[in-house]
Symmetry: C2
Subunit: 410 residues, 2 copies
């Protein structure tokens, strides 16, 4: 029986976390910055030291492959190592280094798999510096053209292709070359469900669809003391009504539906002036496309109702719209079996966040393994998962790979 | 019959508006800045050129006096000439230059009043650079000690006394020396009521009481995709509920009550994060102290209800609390009579904004004359009042002064 070396895995997580460490103890390795390069260099050295065959494609995705005995399509693991501006140490890195640990476990035990085993580092999953997010996996799955991606300008005004070249990760392998037999991404949940329910492993079967809208409300900025209530066109009040309505819609749709107004920017934002303009954002998510559409319809109805009620003009812009992704049920079942065999409590669940796995699901059987996040916190230096959970997650990843390599039908 | 020279008055308004003009066409003469000094120098020169006796007190208030024939206490006019960061040309200046025009009308007609006539420029009415606002008139009315005012630090880190000295307006007259027979402040309405009702003159009989509260809501910042609705402590949603409740309270109290949430600052203010903290402000106003208290009570009840409902912590800080001010009914009646005699439509009304007159009301019979503001806009380069309204306002000011000087009993 193979066992992962958790001390080694944890040591690598720690070492990578030192690259781009922030004063608050977080990680800052924004895509294609010097810190991202340093992180890539570090992990690539570990890959090469293990004797893996490393390829870099034209969008900077890194693939490390252990050849199997039967020349079968690779079972691929992996995730990303770029971070948000002040993120945690586990988001993405656990999937990459967990995958590397699985491969090293095979190697040090002299065990040769039938399938090739691969671990991928996808470029720019976070989308914090270059948009869209999940860019490397999206291009790998033919969802975005390389030329379009190359023209992308970062928040700090740099062209993506030049940044890739500058940090030495503009590879020559064509994008989408490696089509896996299956893709499994180990990741922290980034939500509170596993912790609250005291469950160790999530077998992720869906990724929520996302509908992001920017809303601009134009009212009339007026003196808060001299403008009678009946003469107001208060963009701040309209924004409040809309925020309350987004919550009501979530309650009406029910189930796993979530709706959030996260950004509110009123102008002039003064104590004694009725807000003349408000910009806000609405984030609606559901795993069921029909329900997501239903929530969008209710939201649109609310816009016109509120515009009429308060005498404001409301315009919207769609910032992002992704349909829900259904992962491969067979892969999710293998994950469940693996957890059960290891005696780890587990549940089938949805991902509320986006992940590279949802892009890979377009080209091969895919699912994800979640481990609990303390307080559900992520994209924050406080992001934390207890070590025994990290270990369990890597063990489930190893066993899942073994089962698939052993012939579980996909 | 005396008549004001509107062309002269309007010319002075224009000339003063050139001092500290902003790129958007507004006025920027923040209290005790170089621009404020330049404005003061200009108006003081006009006062001196008219042969008025000019005194400056220890808080920089400027008083110009025309001696009357009977050595009676002065009938005082005036207002302020400091502005907000990008304000209009009329707010304050109309009251000062209108008062100066009334005095010049007496002089050029060789008419000597029984009472002294005075025009005042009060220091720092706006409170945009040094707090509190209405500072000069407040000190004149013994509502704030000079020593406390001297220690005030501006938003840009300067001590008030040093700034007074630096611009040459630290006078030597004791504050509160001149106690008027009556005080009349001509001002733009800064609200929409006169315009909407097509009325030329407001005889202002009350100033609303003001209750300003800063509210801090602490919830839990969480991922908008991964946090089920049932597990949220959403400070943004709580802020929206509170904003809606402030409107409901205004409707419940009714009448002239106004309630406004003007500032909303959520953190982290990201599209995909449930707001963990929100700071907002609540502005409640009523001319009736009991009703203002009632609205404060309803507001406090709402805080605890919402805190419990959403599982957030809410704390508050009182930023300002002024009881309503009742002006002198006799002075307001004289204004009404003056407008009627001039054939100008008029109404008794409240002031929703604060004015130097409300401080002067503590020490002498006081009322205000309002003229319409286009779209109710003020504190903005778009602030505008048609010239014929400005002229009417100055005419009513002159006639009101004549009536009081003529012996209307106060």
């Amino acid at each position: 029986m193979l066992n992962i070396n958790f001390k080694r895995l944890n040591g690598r997580l720690q070492e990578l976390s030192e690259v781009g460490r922030t004063s608050e103890g977080g990680s800052r390795r924004l895509a294609l910055t010097d810190a991202d390069k340093a992180g890539r260099d570090l992990v690539q050295r570990w890959m090469i030291d293990l004797g893996l065959e490393v390829s870099i494609d034209k969008i900077g995705n890194i693939f490390a492959v252990l050849k199997g005995s039967a020349n079968k399509k690779p079972i691929m693991m992996g995730s990303h190592i770029d971070t948000v501006g002040n993120g945690g140490h586990l988001d993405g890195c656990l999937g990459v280094l967990g995958g590397l640990e699985v491969i090293e476990t095979y190697i040090e035990n002299g065990k040769i798999p039938e399938h090739d085993l691969a671990v991928a580092i996808f470029t720019n999953e976070e989308g914090a510096r270059f948009q869209p997010d999940m860019m490397g996996s999206l291009i790998h799955a033919h969802g975005l053209s390389l030329e379009d991606a190359y023209q992308t300008i970062s928040n700090d005004g740099k062209k993506l292709k030049e940044e890739l070249e500058r940090i030495g990760y503009l590879g020559d392998m064509e994008c989408g070359t490696i089509i896996p037999h299956a893709f499994i991404e180990l990741h922290i949940e980034q939500g509170p469900i596993l912790e609250k329910e005291n469950i160790k492993i999530g077998a992720v079967e869906n990724v929520q669809g996302i509908s992001w809208t920017s809303v601009t409300i134009k009212g009339q900025a007026n003196h808060a003391g001299t403008t009678p209530m009946s003469m107001r066109c208060d963009a701040g009040y309209a924004a409040a009504l809309l925020t309350v309505r987004v919550r009501q819609i979530a309650e009406e749709i029910g189930g796993v539906h979530v709706g959030t107004v996260g950004v509110i920017n009123p102008k002039p934002n003064l104590i004694n002036v009725v807000a003349g303009d408000v910009k806000l954002t609405v984030d609606l998510r559901n795993v069921d496309e029909e329900k997501l559409k239903q929530s969008e319809k209710l939201f649109e109805d609310a816009l016109s109702d509120i515009a009429e009620l308060e005498g404001v003009e409301i315009s919207t812009e769609t910032l992002a719209r992704f349909e829900p992704v259904k992962f491969d049920d067979r892969v999710a079942c293998v994950i469940t079996q693996a957890a059960n065999e290891l005696g780890l409590s587990n549940k089938r669940m949805n991902s509320g966040a986006g992940h590279d796995a949802q892009m890979m699901a377009r080209i091969c059987p895919t699912a994800m393994i979640f481990v609990p996040s303390r307080d559900g916190i992520s994209h924050n230096p406080k992001e934390h998962t207890d070590e025994h959970y990290l270990k369990s997650g890597a063990e489930v990843l190893l066993k899942t790979v073994q089962k698939i390599d052993g012939g579980t039908v996909l």
